[in-house]
């Protein structure tokens, strides 16, 4: 299939390209577009289905044959979902835990990365290793002891109980340390000569230069906190403390089967913000999620 690549490169002037495409290449090209369309349809279908169902009347959802387009588009499912479960409250909880959780991660990562990149300390490499080793302990295996700890602290069903156990950050520290290390030495020296202390250097020299990496890391934190499921599921035990993913899950448990339209509308409450964020910051999110995978 990389025949197309080859020709593409040989034929530099774009204008002549179209005329001189031999038939076999044209066939490849068309096959490529067909395949791409197919892929987009298959992968996009579940989301399309969700959106369409959210606008269908209940009667239509439960009649056969299934329709691909709502016959009488209705907005009724959205207020119905909002009433079937306290979505206002879910939004509030999700915003609070996402914002504070991500803020905590970013702040901890900033200071840790600065310390690891610029401050002297005996056997700093061991400290770094101790931090990175945390990546080897998946959250899932800590749930039972952490539940006990949080219970002992009296934090079950509280925001701090949702946020604090997940606030420490190793991956983000690693990302930011890499970015900080690439800040030119001369700039740092100049700031030192001007008499800037470490806090000044961090906030007014390093942070502006490493801003893209910080934004990437922050987005990553936000997306992961917004979608977090296991820990909030365990640590909350009343409806009014649930976050959106838990709320949608319970909505499905109570309304699913009998009222899919409402459940799909509720799912959109959660999916739409994250997809908008993805559209706006696609590059940063993709880069952050895949950083460290491919060297060079």
């Amino acid at each position: 299939m990389d025949v197309t690549n080859e020709i593409e490169q040989r034929m530099a002037p774009a204008a002549t390209r179209r005329q001189s495409l031999p038939f076999s290449l044209l066939a490849w090209r068309i096959a490529g577009y067909v395949a791409m369309l197919f892929v987009v349809l298959v992968i996009g279908l579940p989301v399309y289905w969700t959106v369409m169902s959210a606008f269908k009347e209940t009667r239509e959802i439960y009649s056969l044959p299934v329709t691909w387009w709502p016959a009488n588009p209705t907005l009724a499912n959205f207020p119905a979902a909002w009433q079937a479960a306290p979505f206002g409250r879910y939004y509030l909880n999700s915003f609070i835990t996402t914002f504070l959780g991500a803020a905590a991660e970013v702040i901890l990562a900033l200071f840790s990365a600065y310390a690891l990149a610029y401050l002297r300390f005996p056997r700093k490499d061991l400290v770094f290793l101790l931090l990175l080793a945390a990546l080897m302990v998946p959250v899932e295996i800590t749930i039972v002891p952490n539940y006990l700890t949080v219970a002992r602290l009296g934090w079950i069903n509280t925001y701090q109980g949702i946020i604090i156990p997940g606030a420490a950050i190793a991956y983000g520290t690693f990302l930011l340390r890499q970015a900080f290390l690439s800040v030119p030495r001369e700039i740092l020296e100049a700031a030192k000569v001007d008499g800037a202390g470490h806090l000044r250097i961090l906030f007014s020299v390093v942070m502006p230069i490493a801003q893209p990496a910080i934004v990437t890391m922050a987005l990553l934190s936000i997306v992961s906190k917004w979608n977090d499921f296991l820990w909030p599921l365990i640590v909350t035990n009343t409806t009014d403390m649930r976050t959106l993913p838990i709320g949608v899950f319970w909505l499905r448990n109570s309304e699913g089967l009998s009222n899919w339209g409402v459940v799909m509308a509720g799912s959109l409450f959660l999916i739409v913000p994250v997809l908008i964020a993805f559209l706006l910051a696609q590059r940063a999110i993709v880069e952050g999620m895949t950083a460290g995978a491919v060297k060079g």
């Binding site: 990389d2 310390a115 899932e140 749930i143 002891p145 420490a168 499905r252 799912s267 895949t290 995978a293």
Partner: protein, 306 residues
């Protein structure tokens, strides 16, 4: 003594400055390390302890039973069954993600218009909450009104009762997992494709290699480090996968989709058996530690030998 005088003159000054920097270092990194100690390292040790006691979370007494929990777990066929199911889920999910991901990456690496849009569509499910993905798919799998039944209808087929049928529940979980995670593999493969030197293709062309030969002898070997990285990462992600299973099948029907992580959750928060939960946590940790070690070894080799 006299020999040390100049040194002593000099040393306390830098030492004081250095000590201040040490203090700052501790202040900067301390909170992060403290949280890790309390919520990551301590739980690991505590799990090891829990795995050797018998406890139901309520009684004040936690009788020490030694390796009894391990013995009873490993002599229980259900435990082996769960390990087997975890392996099945992992092998299928990772295998499909790697193979389909490679095909999609090769396609989206072609100079086609709108390919960036297509890449965005492929990646989008990665950022959507696994729990909500599973909620949406539980409707898609609805044997009567669901999307899949509709699609199968085109071919005159009838949808199985995916989530209720003990044979079809696992394929359903795997399908959802692959749908959600394929975009990650595609992006990593695409980055790997960029890293294959152009000259290799040129050289192969000079040698008269056709497109298929070049794919087989240049592209595939060039992607093998990336594929290795992806397989380890995907295996780790699979082992940690919880939300899809919890929402889609709740480990059922009759434990047919119970994996180690789900079993751990069940033991801890449904049947309140802290000892057995500890055993599962330790087993899970050791498996994942071994995998991570393999990966670190590989990354080191990459860095050292280019």
């Amino acid at each position: 003594m006299a020999t040390y005088t100049p040194h002593q003159d000099y040393h306390p000054k830098t030492s004081r400055r250095e000590h201040r920097e040490w203090l700052l270092f501790v202040l900067f990194i301390g909170p992060n390390l403290f949280l890790f100690s309390v919520f990551t390292y301590w739980p690991l040790l505590y799990n090891a302890y829990l795995s050797m006691v018998r406890w139901d979370f309520l009684r004040p007494a936690m009788p020490f039973v030694g390796l009894q929990n391990y013995i009873s777990a490993f002599s229980d066929p259900q435990f082996w069954n769960i390990i087997w199911q975890t392996a099945t889920f992992t092998v299928w999910s990772v295998g499909l993600t790697l193979i389909i991901g490679l095909m999609l990456a090769l396609l989206l690496n072609q100079p086609l218009q709108f390919r960036n849009t297509a890449r965005a569509v492929v990646f989008a499910p990665v950022v959507i909450s696994g729990a909500v993905v599973a909620v949406v798919w539980s409707y898609i799998f609805d044997p009567r009104y669901g999307l899949i039944d509709q699609l199968l209808g085109f071919f005159g087929l009838d949808s199985p009762n995916w989530l209720i049928d003990s044979f079809w529940a696992m394929p359903a979980v795997i399908i959802v997992y692959v749908w959600k995670n394929i975009g990650y593999a595609v992006v990593i493969y695409l980055a790997g494709l960029q890293n294959i030197p152009r000259e290799l293709y040129d050289a192969a062309r000079v040698d008269g290699a056709g497109a298929w030969d070049r794919f087989w002898h240049v592209t595939l070997p060039g992607l093998s480090p990336v594929a290795f990285f992806l397989s380890v990462t995907s295996i780790l992600t699979c082992f940690q996968s919880f939300d899809i299973i919890r929402v889609l099948t709740n480990g059922g029907p009759a434990s047919a989709t119970t994996t180690l992580v789900f079993h751990l959750y069940e033991l801890g928060f449904v049947s309140y058996d802290a000892g057995k939960a500890g055993v599962v946590a330790i087993v899970l940790f050791l498996i994942m530690l071994a995998l991570t070690m393999i990966q670190i070894r590989y990354v080191e080799r990459q860095v050292t030998y280019g």
